[in-house]
Symmetry: D2
Subunit: 327 residues, 4 copies
């Protein structure tokens, strides 16, 4: 189909380029780094060839989240967002933007989100998982109470928040030690991000800010398949929930979350996602440059769903969520 | 349907009973401990009422795996297996057995598996994830090289190996700290067991012992939904695999693994599993006493699959895998 | 779920009651006739018990369509519509109406549709398949050219048109002779209605009146499963379409048709329909009194789809299609 | 995948070639007639290119079934079967055969089936729907009592019976008059064959000969989607079945029927079929030469099912059903 919109589509600036090294074999680095730094050239050709009208761009990972010093994190975020705004201004018909945010300091994050949403006309934020705050070992997730004002701001600004993966630090996930092939998109990304999402659900933040919209990539980081069991294990036990939130996990998942197809071009999983969360909350994405646009598009254009859902997932859900057709 | 066979069905002996405390609220303990200790009484009534002909019984968790001293682990395993053999002998038409194994010492594990398979006529083994060896902090997974002779023995004895979940120890999974509601069957069980399974696949053990049969509970611990991405992320990168095994993860998954429905009574997930691994490798189970037999059976008897698959998943796959009809 | 809306829900007036005899065994007649004649009593109790907020009511079958004399057909339609309007007026919060139409004469049909839509505030029309015109053997389908003004009117009035089944007359479908068990809802209803729908698609009426909305019951009368083959058989043959319409059958199906679940409470078929036409075009219905409200509701409330789709199919699609919430 | 086996794969002899004219536009006739008459040349190239190891060949339609004179029908069947046997003898590793049968006379049909199964080593029979007997208007279906000895013979010979479509004669299906685009594979083939299959189910023939194996092409001629409704309409009516057979339609469908993918290369429908009848009863086929081998194979090799099911549907189900690996 033509007119597809993608929303997990990355770029790098010089300062963050090296963050993407190491995920792929060395002999891919030249290609990958070119892909990350390019916006107006090959990227547009790939989009043109594959019926992709728009990318909502975001900084590569982990970038800002891996800078323990909040002021340096903020500085980098601002620089990246400003560079991105310039690129978008050249082709606003083809590119829009997600903000990078210095989540190390909730106040700074709010300030930058507000600047991006109002002055730069960004479409939301994309954050690469937990932040390291102060020291590399001080890992902070956004269900922590100090983020409450941030979520209030995200709701107030109606800014969808894309929770993008990153690898756990080694001391937090020893199970992968000596098994580097399980890190990154193979497995660790999904587990890390799914747990972060579950922590948010359990925290009660969606009770306080029911208008929050969280986006998960990679067909939901495994959550759709397991969501029933998450709420229903030990069903004979009539016990009060033991977490702060008021409702079942699945209610937040169904009401506050959106999924994208980034990097998970599997029809079976897409069908399962449709049967769990419904096609109104699933959105096409490629995960460029870590995945090819043609791989994503060829699969999606032919995947075994209704044409009505293809249009929604491929385009109109995004147009609605990000108010793209009101320009 | 009548004649259902289940294979994630637990019991406890006095020495292991406390291992099941703490998972459920205190006011359930009386009921849960009764359920665990009973074999011939209420358990059979539940089975009778719900069309369940047979349970292949296994010790509760983590039990043997959590005893760092290998000799004590062996002692407990032997005692549990002997007690189980006695119970099975009373109603071999209704109960069969999986061996508990002192995996802390591969030689002891081999010896006990051999004893159970040949002398006690057990149907395989059920092991509760990693073992703590020597000290509680020394966590050992079975992809470690010292387990190669064990896997050789399991293949030689044609003993299906049920890889059952346990919680990670705290220092290995800090992400759950302060979020106990994510432990156990809600989430941590699945993640822990899925990674253990992936480590086995990557290790090459299935290249060396292609006849191995590994069983995963809970509809595959999330793996079916993510299996495509595990092998296909970054598909434009034409790189050699960076793990010891020769083939893709999914090939081992499709050829050496079986899934059960234990504790995951979700039709959508079952359909996805059928479309990923096929109905010949999915088997009914309840996860008694942590789940109710009626919850499992009522769901399964009505779940939206073909009657042919209902018969296979409910009964004949197990009869074939465990050679139950050749008695 | 509560708040369900159904739109294949029948009643009879004295003059049409006998039309429903013969479909069911004689010993059901007392119950069936009571069900057909009742509106405000047991019907409402069934709805209350099963979370059904509203029924859009329609006359039983074949009724008006089986009266060869157009004026008598019109007379009956008017009487039925007037009686229905009176019933709806008593509980407009629980009942709305579809018009019966004397399709024997397109002009009369237009006139009565207009009267019902504007003066009686009906929500559309429900017509029981082909009409017998002049003589019982003169069978007329609505793809005939004389119905063009009728379709123009239906589009202009934005009146959804429910194409309800009836049995073929014997000389038109000898294959059922001596096999009465294949008539009615078992098989002949579906075949008859599916072909009528295909004839409409091929006729070009949707090219001329693209705003037409046709509703099919019984999960689409078999069409979703076969729609691909209808357009794609002999795919190597690059031939011009040999029917009057401009586009493929499936394009009209996807853009001009809605399906209901009436009398087809099968999860597998619902999933297939979702994957063919999308959940925005599927609507809950029971087919009362030929089916039980509890059978429909118990199935639907638990069927294996997303909660988002349950809400849409159960209620909001109908509310939107019939502008029910704008009252 | 390699090694695929197909079983709705047609050829013509000179005498039957014209039977295939008229289904396709005239400018395809040269290509189609070449395809029908060729066996050892382009057909094998198509198979080689698309991973198809074997075709079980059958005569085109309606051929023998449309010859009212039984002796002439027999004569033609014998000639076609003998010619086919010669072709198969040249490449028994690539071709096997279904018998054409003069069903006009049950005794002749038995005799020819026996000759084909025992002397010619055919794998079963393929019959093109009803037969015209004596006169073109005398249409006979095989649920008629005179076919009982035939079904006894088919069971005794363990000969799977492929019930292939043909168009109804005009006087039997007036609904298609003036709508030729609904004839053939678009719609009429499926309806005609589905009803024939339902008549067989209702007749009790599967009670008397439970070993019968009937094969339906085109993903089951629409039956899987509607099978539930066929048995469950009017579920509140507790009535005795009103047809001769002892059990529900679906029980015969599930126990005596096999489906092929011929001409229906739709993943959604395949998934529905798997969820209705199970993957052990679905078999790959192309419908050559009316469909392309590459269309069938490219779809099937990538369709969203498990690899285990791909192997079964693509090859091993056929190998088992026709005992092909015992050569």
């Amino acid at each position: 189909m033509n007119g597809k919109i993608g929303l997990e589509e990355h770029f790098a600036i010089r300062e963050t380029l090296q963050d993407s090294a190491g995920y792929l074999p060395n002999d891919c680095w030249s290609e990958l780094s070119n892909r990350l730094l390019d916006i107006q050239d090959d990227r547009l050709r790939q989009m043109d060839k594959n019926g992709m009208e728009m990318m909502i761009l975001s900084l590569n990972a982990p970038a800002v989240q891996a800078i323990p010093d909040p002021r340096k994190a903020r500085e980098l975020a601002i620089r990246a967002n400003d560079e991105l705004a310039e690129q978008v201004a050249k082709r606003p018909d083809r590119f829009q933007a997600f903000a990078a945010l210095p989540m190390q300091d909730p106040e700074m994050a709010i300030e930058e989100l507000e600047r991006c949403m109002t002055r730069l006309e960004f479409k939301g934020a994309l954050v690469n998982g937990f932040s390291q705050v102060g020291t590399p070992e001080n890992v902070v997730y956004y269900d922590a109470p100090q983020y409450d004002p941030f979520w209030a701001a995200a709701e107030r600004l109606d800014a969808p928040f894309y929770l993008h993966p990153r690898n756990p630090i080694s001391s937090w996930a020893q199970i992968y030690d000596g098994h580097p092939w399980l890190l990154g998109p193979t497995w660790a990304f999904g587990q890390e991000t799914a747990v972060h999402a579950l922590r948010l659900m359990a925290s009660g933040v969606f009770d306080r800010y029911p208008g929050l919209k969280i986006i998960l990539g990679h067909m939901g980081e495994g959550l759709p398949y397991s969501m029933w069991r998450i709420d229903n294990r030990n069903a004979w036990v009539d016990a009060p929930k033991n977490y702060p939130a008021k409702r079942k996990f699945c209610e937040y998942f169904q009401n506050n979350f959106y999924l994208t197809t980034s990097g998970n071009f599997r029809t079976q999983s897409l069908i399962d996602a449709i049967l769990e969360i419904g096609s109104d909350r699933i959105l096409f994405s490629t995960d460029w440059p870590f995945e090819n646009v043609d791989h994503a598009a060829n699969w999606f254009d032919a995947t075994s769903i209704s044409e009505a859902d293809r249009l929604k997932i491929g385009r109109t859900n995004a147009a609605k969520l990000f108010k793209l057709d009101r320009r």
